[in-house]
């Protein structure tokens, strides 16, 4: 007698993750009902000020699933959870007894001066862009503390999908606020934060379910790099449950505890980056310059804005074996507030780059389109192409059968073409001996050439396919012998926490990082005000800053090499400018000598 398959809630509970937060975190996964009850519903038309539709205290979660006013008007619906605190109220929250305190090493000392300059411009842009007002995070924190005091709960929402041989466990975590920027010097703040985890169970042959893959969301990442094999040593387990580490404030999820340097690239630098990449390739590949054992400099990081995601896991742990346990909510059927509400789940800050605008719900993107992670969780984590392990042999056998069929067909075609080609060639030879049939000969010659080329191409294809078939047969034999291959082969740029060496910076280096950009700007102004010697002053200023940076970053040797190479390039350009035609003449002479020497050597041999 076969056992009854576990119901969906049991499945969700069986693999629910243990979420480890960072000490200093203010928000934890909570129920959406209580959040919505404290929120007001607003609508901002495309061409006018926002209007409050339902005030705070009058909204219930089910109302979001019903048709909303202004649904046919261009604009955006959004919730507002917290009214920003100011003055004493703000100080009261900040100085609250027992409030989690966060201590972390600064982010600026971990990157170079250029990145810090870009960061300074990003900070300035926050004054110009729409942002979540200051004091919002504190207000949200106060409201969250009150909600927890009324009834403490830690909630996840879950659903179970069955797609393409997988059973997918989808866990959703709702946080009242992302306070990464205001509390942890991160990229952004926004009300409401949805995070998610997927666990992919195998159900290929209808046997027992077993987990094979796990994927978790971090910022806007998707694809293979977000996914790990269940048996990957990086996937930590606690009593059979996966352990994940949430970034402080951002709530991005990671498999390994640590501090992650997140570099946000600005699109304005992309053309410059492309030029620099081309120059770098020419330098390293064509001119064979630089130490090949050193990885080339990450140009992307040079113009990116550095932020640290602190996912230390030294704070509250929620889940099996953790200090707090989960209250699961099964989304079956999917409630109307998920299915129908396309608005934002928090304050709409009118930020053109969206980082400060609240997210939409689990099903929708901010623009109202359906999230891929919702309708296609296999595609979201790059699994659509991957057969479940117990079906891997079937996938290989299916592909082998297809290729073998194609191979047989092509072999037959090649044989037929070969059989037709030889008589055609014989005919062509016969026509060649008859001058009066020259036109017919020309046609036959062209036909022979064309058919011969086609036959050669076909045979090349057959030979290549034969190699593919052999590779597939070899892989099939390995799979049948139980070899799963490299479990991390799909990873291209997996998240890696910073090393102790990167994090361990002296207080002096941190102070310098804090002061450097401001000092540099003051230095520029001082130079501008100086009547003489601006160029030399600029050189000395930049040189001094570069030297101090190199000492703090422990890259004095790199600085020496770069200065030497930079001076060389500059001097070479001056020489080219002064002696262009002389250089051309000498180059021509050298080429001529090489050619003559080469030809003479050949002649001698």
């Amino acid at each position: 007698m076969s056992e009854q398959p576990p119901d969906d809630l049991t499945l969700l509970r069986q693999y629910e993750p243990l979420l480890r937060h960072t000490n200093g975190e203010h928000f934890f996964p909570t129920r959406v009902e209580r959040y919505v009850e404290r929120s007001a519903l607003w609508f901002r038309p495309a061409d006018g000020p926002a209007v409050e539709l339902i005030p705070s205290g009058g909204l219930e979660i089910d109302r979001l699933g019903l048709p909303l006013p202004y649904e046919d008007t261009p604009g955006i619906h959004f919730l507002q959870f917290a009214k920003p605190l100011t003055g004493r109220a703000l100080q009261r929250v900040i100085n609250r007894r027992g409030r989690p305190r966060f201590r972390g090493r600064g982010r600026l000392a971990r990157v170079g001066l250029v990145a810090r300059l870009v960061d300074a411009f990003f900070t300035v842009s926050l004054w110009l862009r729409g942002t979540v007002p200051g004091g919002t995070a504190a207000a949200a924190e106060e409201a969250y503390v009150e909600m927890q005091a009324e009834r403490e709960s830690y909630t996840y929402y879950g659903r179970v999908l069955r797609q393409d041989g997988y059973v997918i466990l989808h866990y959703l975590f709702f946080y009242c606020m992302n306070d990464w920027r205001s509390s942890f010097h991160g990229v952004n703040d926004h009300e409401a934060d949805w995070e998610q985890v997927f666990i992919y169970l195998e159900n290929c042959d209808g046997g027992d379910l077993r987990p094979v893959w796990i994927a978790c969301a971090a910022h806007d990442g998707a694809g293979d790099d977000r996914r790990r094999h269940w048996d990957d040593p990086e996937v930590e387990k606690a009593g059979g449950h996966p352990v994940l580490y949430a970034g402080a404030g951002s709530h991005a999820l990671y498999f390994t505890p640590g501090e992650y340097l997140v570099t946000v690239s600005l699109s304005v630098f992309r053309p410059l980056l492309r030029v620099l990449e081309t120059a770098m390739r020419f330098w390293r590949v064509t001119l064979r310059q630089g130490n090949p054992e050193e990885s080339p400099p990450q140009l992307n990081a040079l113009f990116g804005i550095p932020f640290v995601d602190y996912a230390r896991g030294d704070g509250l742990a929620i889940g099996p074996t953790g200090r707090k346990t989960w209250t699961p909510v099964l989304l079956d059927p999917v409630p109307a507030w998920i299915e129908n509400y396309r608005g934002l789940w928090g304050f709409y800050a009118k930020d053109p780059v969206s980082g400060e605008n609240a997210p939409a719900g689990p099903k929708f993107n901010r623009d109202g389109t359906v999230r891929r992670a919702w309708h296609n969780p296999l595609g979201w984590s790059g699994l659509l192409k991957v057969a479940p392990e117990s079906c891997a042999g079937d996938a290989l056998r299916h592909r082998l059968a297809t290729l073998r069929n194609a191979q047989s067909a092509d072999r037959e075609a090649a044989a037929e073409q070969h059989a037709a080609l030889m008589p055609l060639h014989a005919e062509m030879r016969a026509l060649a001996e008859q001058p009066r049939l020259s036109e017919a000969y020309q046609r036959a010659w062209a036909a022979v050439q064309e058919k011969e080329r086609a036959l050669n191409q076909l045979r090349d294809r057959i030979a290549e396919r034969e190699e593919v078939i052999r590779a597939l047969e070899s892989r099939l034999a390995a799979v049948e012998a139980g070899d799963r291959g490299d479990l991390r082969a799909h990873l291209v740029h997996p998240d890696r926490p910073q090393s102790e060496r990167d994090i361990r910076l002296s207080a002096l280096a941190e102070s310098w990082a804090a002061f450097s950009v401001g000092l540099l700007l003051v230095g520029f102004v001082a130079l501008y005000l100086t009547p003489q010697g601006r160029l030399i002053g600029l050189g000395l200023l930049v040189g001094l800053f570069a030297l101090i940076e190199a000492i703090f970053q422990r890259r004095l040797a790199t600085l020496i090499v770069r200065v030497t190479v930079g001076l060389s390039i500059f001097a070479a350009l001056l020489l080219i400018y002064d002696y262009f035609w002389e250089i051309v003449i000498v180059a021509v002479f050298i080429v001529a000598l090489i050619i003559i020497a080469d030809n003479l050597r050949e002649l001698r041999e």
Partner: protein, 149 residues
């Protein structure tokens, strides 16, 4: 097992250049100092400074700066011949000093093209990946090889 290092021919040439330049600068500097000492020996009082400038009037600040660095080439030559990584870095630094002086000369209308070309060639050669491997590397050159498609 680490690959035994073999010294590229160009490194030997650069080492010899450093050595010859260093010895020449040592001789030149020493003779200048002796000359200066002899000039000073028979004089006393505040005129010493005037005589000092007289004795070295054909020597510019540029020479006083260059000579000590060039003398250090004697030590660097030994490091280059033994493929010591620090010698590679120090030689690059020395070339940076030469380049700075050449550029200073250039913008003051005293272009020394031959010296500049030799310095540029030295930097280019020392920065070649194979040469860098000879100093820093213990494995065969794997540049350009990648497991990524």
């Amino acid at each position: 097992m680490p690959r035994p290092k073999s010294r590229p021919f160009g490194v030997t040439v650069i080492a010899l250049l450093l050595l010859v330049n260093g010895l020449f600068a040592l001789a030149q500097g020493s003779s200048r100092l002796v000359e200066l000492y002899q000039e000073r020996a028979g004089l006393t009082g505040p005129d010493i400074l005037d005589d000092l400038s007289d004795a070295t009037e054909d020597w510019t600040a540029r020479d006083w700066l260059t000579v000590p660095f060039t003398i250090s080439g004697i030590v660097l030559a030994w490091g280059m011949l033994t493929l010591h990584p620090r010698a590679w870095l120090a030689t690059m630094a020395l070339q940076a000093v030469y380049l700075t002086i050449h550029l200073y000369d250039y913008f003051n209308g005293e272009q020394r093209t031959i010296g500049l070309v030799i310095t540029l060639a030295t930097v280019f050669y020392l920065n070649l990946s194979d040469v860098q491997l000879a100093f820093h590397g213990t494995t065969p050159n794997t540049a350009g090889k990648s497991t990524a498609p």
